[in-house]
Amino acid sequence: MSDNNQQNTPAPGAAPEPAAASASASAPASASAPASSPAPQPAAAPAPKPDTEAPRSNKILNEILGGSFLISILAVLLALIAGAILIAATNEDVQTASGYFFSRPGDTLGAIWQAVSGAYSALFQGSVYNFRRDSFADGIKPLTETLTFATPLIAAGLGVGLAFRVGLFNIGGRGQMLIAAACAGWVGFSFQLPAPLHITLAVLAGIAGGAIWGGLVGFLKARTGAHEVILTIMLNYVAFYLISYMLRTPGLLQAPGSPNPKSPPMAETAVFPALFGSKYNLHLGFILVIVATALVWYLLNRSSLGFRFRAVGENPNAAKVAGIDVKNTYVYAMLFSGGLVGLAGVSQVLGTVTGGFSGGIDAGIGFDAITVALLGRSKPIGIFFAGILFGAFKAGGFSMQAAEGVPVDIVVVVQSLIVLFIAAPPLVRAIFFLPKPGGRARRVLPNVSKEVAAK
């Protein structure tokens, strides 16, 4: 990636005199400019810069302590601690034991330990490796479940992240997924075609459906200047009621012979094949999102269209002056964004819930995708791994509920706390008494509150 060379300290050595000028002249007015070098991927260690002022060892230490990788780890840790507090506080055994805390504190501590370790080990066993199974093939199943859940999260996360990069906020994941699922599902159950063709057609239909529903937002925004946040939210409801109606109306999406608001099951030929045999649920969709991740990476970093996307996202005014059609760019961006979110809907109907879908097929992924995109800092690789992390939380959440009776909502709490903490490195540093990094505050999340003037 061309834009991940992070600089914690203002370019030393190079042009000291003009640098002083820019700092004093523009500091109050445009503080965002120097303060917002995009941060690297959480996993990628920042390349140390030559530095003449501070000893090299300090510099490296600084990079590690101030680095975003450490911050990310600590943010996850903090969120898990907060989750642990909630789990412990609401656990019945803990409550009972704390009733006599002063006569036998050990009981309370023991109960807390039981509750928290039980929950988190269930979380781990449900998402990575299940030690209670005999064979590796069985034990590793949770990991494949994690990847299965990650699949739509990554796809939708890419869509939301792409929109972020263009300065747009796509909260319309729900609607786009529903329309995409309906399109892909309709192709999936209505036709009899050879498998590769059928799958291809269904996938394309779904992506097109999502793209159109997203593109509609881009179009309305470009034409009327309406705010995309409002449009996407409203269109979520419109899509939901539209699909609900179609699902209970015979001849549209409803399964024949059933009164339930549910579609027929997908034809065998349209179902994503399992990647590792029927024992595991992981399906072709995961390969598709890997491809999608690569494509989005190419699009954003290597293509001319992506260049314009980023230019509009970072500075729509400069883009306009440079001859880039900002409004068209919004339309394209929302088409792409909707299409990617649509892929998530496709993966749901053709991969995860193949027995026919109902109005809840989006499963909240459209909203989860926002947090995935934020955690992945709107960069394709970051989103990919953020999606896997959230997939793991989702997979593990089920086993946590089944084994320990901890409501899955705790996962939502932990996830949102992770994003909040990662967004505010100074807070994490303050909590862990870490030193301040040498550089100025960096912007770690995309800035979506930009608007281009209506001209």
Binding site: S103, D107, T108, G126, Y241, N260, K262, G355, V408
Partner: protein
């Protein structure tokens, strides 16, 4: 400025922490239990009954809740500790069931038609686990017992009752979402009113549901929110003096609307006898359409716990008392004297087939 801000946060954080601490301190002053009691109760059975809800959750004041209560009751009798998991979303069902299988459940109750596919898949994969599939009878497997209820029959009786009781000549109904498990009540109810009109040559009108067109009033969800309340108000404004809200807790909203209206409006409950459960406001309930899920689940689970699981489909009808209507309770004196007699006749007619109650949403009998 920065300083003020920091101080503010710290203060806020500190005071809320202090609050929590205080509560903990007060709570922590109890005395320890005298001895370590290892889980009391009856024989430690290996049998582990479990239940998965649909997206409504176990506190939906409807079928999830009744099934859950049924399971708990059975488990108490059997002396075992059941496991329960709630689903929030559509793709939760399969993993929830799988995880329960992993936890070693011997019997898993799955609630709601939405879980049918997941149940079927899990049942095919885990032939050693028994399943009870509520509100869906599409699965035909050795280890799955489908349980459905023909609630239209009971709703028919309720509709007749409502029509007989109504003074304004208008009765109303509305639902959560337009699902068959909801509209089956509304269909039976409207048909019951129509039957009354036919018998008595009256013209009692149903507002909120049109059987023929299958269109009507829905809140768009199953929350006891203000939309539900205003919808109830809209029906009251159409002069309805009997209300049948169908769908989980939305009856709570209807109760508020009835109380706010200041009019004399009777309500009809669904699923359970709400006279018994809606404690404070039970005086409002003319009757309830009973869907005996709780006792149904209890019976099946208890039988399974004793090793008596059979996969024969169960259809709750008036005949087997799987569905029915609740007593009039406080309204005993306000309904026409001969109503109970007429209802008994109709019930017998439905059972012997001389009166047919059909809803597009009725469970298909195989």
């Amino acid at each position: 400025m920065e300083e003020t801000l920091t101080i503010t946060f710290r203060k806020a954080a500190a005071s809320s922490l202090a609050g929590v601490g205080l509560v903990a301190l007060l709570a922590g002053c109890g005395s320890a239990p005298s001895s370590d009691n290892t889980s009391g109760g009856a024989a430690a059975s290996d049998f582990l009954p479990c239940i998965v809800s649909d997206a409504g959750g176990f506190d939906d004041k409807s079928f999830n809740q009744s099934s859950y209560e049924g399971l708990v009751e059975a488990a108490d009798t059997l002396g075992v500790e059941p496991k329960d998991v709630q689903s929030d979303k559509e793709d939760d069902y399969a993993p929830n069931i799988t995880n329960l299988v992993d936890q070693g459940c011997g019997l898993i109750v799955t609630v709601g038609f939405a879980l049918a596919d997941a149940t079927k898949a899990a049942a095919e994969e885990n032939t050693d686990v028994d399943f009870v599939m509520l509100d869906d009878n599409s699965i035909d497997l050795e280890n799955v017992k489908p349980v459905v209820y023909d609630t239209a029959q009971a709703a028919f009786l309720a509709g007749y009752t409502a029509a007989a009781y109504s003074k304004t000549g208008v009765v109303g109904t509305f639902g959560g979402s337009q699902f068959p498990t909801v509209t089956i009540f509304m269909d039976g109810f409207a048909d019951g009113v129509a039957y009354f009109n036919e018998q008595k040559s009256k013209d009692v009108k149903v507002v909120g549901w049109d059987v023929k067109g299958q269109t009507g009033s829905f809140t768009g969800g199953f929350e006891a929110n203000d939309t539900a309340k205003q919808l109830a108000n809209a029906l009251i404004d159409q002069n309805a003096d009997v209300l049948l809200p169908v769908g989980g807790p939305i009856f709570l909203s209807a109760i508020e609307a009835v109380k706010d209206s200041g009019k004399d409006i009777a309500m009809i409950g669904v699923d359970a006898d709400l006279y018994e459960t809606a404690a404070a406001d039970n005086g409002l309930f003319l009757t309830s359409i009973l869907k005996q899920m709780k006792s149904g689940v209890t019976d099946i689970v208890e039988a399974a716990g004793k090793g008596d699981f059979d996969a024969t489909p169960y259809v709750g009808t008036l005949e087997n008392d799987g569905v029915g209507i609740a007593p009039f309770h406080d309204y005993e004196s306000k309904v026409p004297a001969d109503l109970q007699g007429e209802l008994d006749t109709i019930k017998a007619g439905i059972i012997d087939g001389s009166i047919t109650v059909e809803s597009p949403s009725s469970p298909s009998t195989k």
